[in-house]
């Protein structure tokens, strides 16, 4: 168990170090989400009256597509250098390697959320509070587990750019349903915040357990 945690930590640290040295993904994702806000502004005619109604939808759209890019990249470098096979040749368990990749990808997505949430509050004039941040972070856990699993899968498939959204988005919908409700409440709409967050935590547990069981079959070859 301790060994697995050490492996996962080492893999996550490797990914984050490589991102820190190249600074490829996070700046691009940051620009991407700001662009998404600009496009939403032209698509919706946002003013102070409708901003809190539209903002949750814009937030989830930007986050979901940024997530697809982030998780799609998670295995791209490994594929280009065939280093995943090397990692799997070591006695480390596939589930631990996968956990490390997922943690690193989740942290990169959180870095992108650190741009998205303040930018949304600033440019749309919507409330920015702990409830909003907590809901988005809790949803990120389960979305990262699922997204990384499918990214690992499609990394070795033809036309992966098409297939990743097609497989991942339908299974993210539970998170968007519950997360969407939580964010709406956090921005001042009616409804139960606790119920939505409890549902998000349920989905987190369900999908983290399922992905940790399935990781072995996706990575092993």
């Amino acid at each position: 168990m301790n060994r697995s945690i050490a492996v996962a930590y080492a893999v996550a640290r490797k990914d984050l170090t490589s991102e820190w040295r190249t600074r490829e993904l996070v700046p691009a994702l940051g620009q991407f989400v700001v662009l998404a806000l600009v496009i939403a502004n032209f698509g919706f005619q946002i003013d102070s009256r409708n901003a809190t109604v539209i903002a949750p939808g814009v937030l989830w759209l930007a986050l979901v597509f940024a997530g697809l890019v982030a998780f799609g990249r998670a295995f791209a470098a490994e594929r280009e250098q065939a280093s995943l096979e090397a990692m799997l040749l070591t006695p480390a368990s596939a589930a631990a390697v996968f956990a490390g990749k997922a943690v690193a990808a989740a942290l990169l997505l959180i870095a992108c959320e650190a741009v998205l949430l303040p930018a949304l509050a600033l440019m749309f004039g919507t409330p920015f509070n702990a409830a909003l941040v907590a809901a988005v972070l809790i949803a990120t856990i389960g979305m990262a587990a699922l997204g990384c699993l499918f990214a690992a899968m499609v990394a070795r498939v033809r036309s992966r750019e098409v297939l990743l959204p097609l497989l991942t988005l339908p299974l993210w919908i539970p998170f968007i349903v519950a997360g969407g409700q939580a964010v709406q409440v956090a921005m001042g709409a009616g409804g139960s915040y606790n119920q939505a967050v409890a549902l998000l935590i349920d989905f987190d547990i369900l999908f983290v357990v399922l992905t940790s069981l399935a990781a072995r079959f996706v990575l092993d070859d």
Binding site: V157, P170, A214
Partner: protein
């Protein structure tokens, strides 16, 4: 007449019996009139689709445990039939919704979750086509087949978990008059038989396709034959 032709003819005849039960035997609904008759096939197709996806789940789990090619073929066959039946469910539901609710589509929990179910398993079929055929495609598809099933209970319970336009579970809550219940049970049995026959035929097709040499091999094989003397 092969075994499969006989099964297919039997399934078609049984569906005609079901149609007779729906249009001739079942009484007309007092409030909803004729459109209510859509209910029989709509719900039966939905249940048969759930059954197909349950087969995908079971066969996928069996494949991951044993790597048996038969389990993989069964999952492929059941997924295809399940997507067809989900399409039938959605289309029949939209035909019912237009006269009753006044619109073909509304973003209701049950409708949305059923559409998501369709997308998940259509993605499954697409993955089968795009992944390298063989062990990898079978493994990846098995994982998707297992994850996709998470949506089935969501579809089933969506009418109790959220407030929806969609009618609640009338069968388990015993809300149908006996004649309607009988017509429904006959339709459901016939639809399940039809689904089983379609899965069996598709399973046979998948077996033949697995055993047939690939088109490339066929071309190479043909080239190796000696040219006829001129």
């Amino acid at each position: 007449m092969t075994k499969y032709t006989r099964l297919a003819v039997a399934a078609v005849l049984l569906m005609l019996v079901a149609a007779a039960m729906i249009f001739l035997y079942a009484p007309e609904d007092y409030l909803q009139k004729e459109p209510q008759r859509i209910f029989y096939l709509h719900v039966s197709a939905a249940i048969a689709a759930f059954a197909c996806f349950a087969v995908v789940l079971g066969a996928s789990a069996a494949y991951l445990r044993t790597e048996s090619a038969r389990a993989d073929r069964l999952a492929r066959a059941a997924a295809l039939v399940g997507v067809v039946l989900t399409t039938v469910t959605l289309v029949m539901g939209m035909l019912y919704a237009k006269p009753i609710w006044g619109t073909f589509w509304t973003w209701d929990a049950r409708l949305t979750s059923t559409l998501v179910l369709w997308i998940i398993y259509a993605g499954y079929l697409l993955l089968r086509r795009l992944a390298e055929p063989g062990r990898q495609a079978a493994r990846f598809a098995a994982v998707v087949g297992i994850f996709g099933f998470v949506d089935v209970p969501i579809v089933y319970f969506s009418v109790t978990w959220w407030r929806t336009h969609h009618p609640g579970p009338v069968i388990v809550s015993n809300a149908l008059p006996p004649a309607m219940l009988l017509a429904f049970l006959v339709t459901m049995a016939c639809t399940l038989f039809l689904a089983a026959v379609m899965v069996a035929i598709r399973y046979r097709i998948e077996t033949l396709m697995d055993e047939a040499p690939s088109p490339v091999a066929q071309v190479l094989g043909a080239e190796r034959e000696p040219e006829p003397a001129r």
